[in-house]
Amino acid sequence: MQLPRRETMQMARLRAMYAPVFMAGWYLKRYPDVVNSELDPLDHFVAQGEKEGRDPSPYFKTMWVATQFPGRSTEHDQDRPLSRFLSTPIRSGIKPHPCIDPVWILAQRPELSEAAALLKALDVDDTIDHTSEWFSRREYATLYPDLANVEYLEDHFLSRGIVEERRPRSSYRVVERQEFLRGSARACKPVDSFAWDGSDFVVISTGPGKEILQQVMSQAALDPRICSAGVNAIAALPTFLATDLGARDLIDVDGLIRLAQSPYDAVIVLPGLGLGGAEKYLSQVAHVLDRRLEMAVLVLATDVAQDQVDELARTVRKGLLGRVDTVALRDLVDRTWKADQILALLLLAIGPKLIIVANSEIGFACISKYGKALSNYSHLVACFFSESPFAIGSPYSARFADALPAGSSIWSDNAAVQEQLGQRLDRASGWIDFAVVPQYVESADGYMVLAEVALRSSRWARSRAKRVLWISRWDRFKNTESLKRAAALRPTDSFDVFGPSTESLTSDGIPNIKGHGPVWDLARLDLSEYDCFLFTSQFEGMPNVVLEMVARQIPVVAPRVGGLTETFSDNGITFYANGSTQEETAIRINAALATLFSLEESAMRRRCVTAADELWERHSFEGFVERLRRATQDVASERLSHG
């Protein structure tokens, strides 16, 4: 093909212009299809490669450079980014490659004042290290030893390094603009930005600039401990934006601020919303504060994630927590080492009238450490349900009860634990206020109860082999060893065991015990087949399960523990006393069961009715509301908040 003379002349001019910076070997390797063309690589680039957006060398990104020349200039430079670059003064700021800043290089190497000389030097001058403020060939290679055989480091960084989240220098990162605007990269100073491959990137300095480092190092002459982390590493130490507490303190500050804005009257801090008695009790408290005492309530769960909180609030506690806000504190401060302080700051910001804590390590640490400050604006309530030298539960009261600030309250569902606490806390001084607020029990379905009682009664006299129901958590504090021994003493009876950890129960040579796993909804458990409910435990507060069984009018055998005798008499529940050994307790359980099963059917029914009467006397919903009203009356009248 014969080119017109004018075009031939232009081609020749461009060829001469490009020759010093064109890398033929690289071009052929980069574009293998050129090998099959009959054209010399440079001729190919001049004739068509440049117009197709191909690069003449790894140091010049044709398409990218074109975007820096938004308007068309002279006709002969049309679609010729390399020509335009070579004809433009370096000081104009046009870059041949995102990693290469000619102005910056020129400041270090004044002799490279011509664009062509600069592009050439990038290939042949081994002394060129930094190609921009933020790209250093030596640092990039040193940071990533796997790049030892990579020839063109700027190109590698652009094509792979960014995606692989490599750093162009130890103290710089290249992040997508979205991350810069929203993520922890906000802490860093942006030093450059560019668009590449359809994405917008920001180059950030992850450390302070050279001037700051110089000032730091000048102080190191006074005290070398300034360089404790290592004099070479000092530039690459972590950088935080003071206001970015997400990065600095590992907390979700936006979430905390949102919560802090909300005008809650009461905040309840507990570990979760699971099946535990304390969690159920506090759910009842939340429900009544919300519905009957018209307080805006926030439940903060410290030990579970938000999805678990949402699920449990929707299912297990759905009737109680319908309107109450339930938030997982763990999602907001889980990663920080000072969760108790952050919780205190959150509570200080909310300024509720009431702060109620139960069973939460973080919650108790918070009010015992920072209670003095919090009590200026909020009434603090610690809930303790049981205390025993053996006990789960007792560590909280043992560790935190005497650290409560003056004017705080201790609530519990039974008087027994308060008497125990009163042995070492000074009640007379009024430093701590004690209140017993027994939980309420929901009425069982009347028809179901009638049917269950009728079936049980009809079977009572004729069946000598009894079925015993046991529901609790299967651990040694629940006297499970005594239970097993009691079952062994009563081989004709069968024992159905429900509760966490019972699903994998082995018989241990006691075939009349059968494990069933946890019960998620006691109301749906058919009790008609059972002749009695047996409760075993070394110590207790006020066990919910006993109350709920009494409400179902099933005969109950239980130890004299916790607050049970505050509610029930011997005419309602068949009590036994725990022995000093497991064996002794087992014998007493066996005796109590024998006593119960020896009763006439009518006497058995009278006991159930008596127990139910005693239950409603002390554990009615209205009674609970009234007790809570009294317990909160000092704080309910006026908002103590500082808002």
Binding site: L143, P208, Q215, V216, L222, L245, L374, H642
Partner: protein, 257 residues
Amino acid sequence: MVDLTLVLNFHAEGHLAKVSTASAAMAVERAKRGGNQVRLIAVMDRPDELTRSVVESHGSIWDGILECDFGDLGLARNFAVDSVATPWLCFMDGDDLCGDEWLVKACLVAETEDCSRAFLHPEWIFYFNESDLLNQSQTATPRPGAKSFYMRQVSSTEPHFDANVLRFNNVYTSNQLGLISLYKGFPFRSVDHVRGFGVEDWTWNATGLAMGVRHLVVPETVHLVRVREIDSLGKANARANLLPELTPLPRVHGLRV
């Protein structure tokens, strides 16, 4: 030209007081060469023997050595505010160091910005943790677990600044420069052990922000804060379980100052 007093607060810094004094003296010299009048004053609040000895042994450096008996950093700062005679005052803790450029650049900003309701802070804080000596890196990459770090302070006038963040941590260190008249309008609070409140600089920053005081950072300046395993003010506050009194912060989402 700014007429300024740099106050160094001492209590129980011991030998560290010598380094801080030298650092402050360098910054003062640099600021003087920049055409400013700068006085260097030591305020010792219940100093221990060693600290007093170290401070007094540098008698020629000081334009004044003042002593008070509060045992309370907030009250010692107020004492300094009441004692200095210059229109401008800058604080520095007696175990910190300041970059050479801090004072001279802050004076330039003080001359050009309206600081009638603004305090100036260095842009960068370098927290150097001496425990890193046992975990020192020999390369350009810090060892995992290094505790030293940089923190960049931001002006309260920046668009993304939300004063509510102070509810959960302090975002300005106590080495600030401002007009005496402004300090007098916002005295520091003493630690209130009875009510459980302390952390005087956090409370002071929150109070000022709520009252419309601006905090401006001076670009390309740095302050160096020593993080000590023992005897640091922060650890003392932590031991005493004190909280900042943040009640002045209004309950407004997205508060901008």
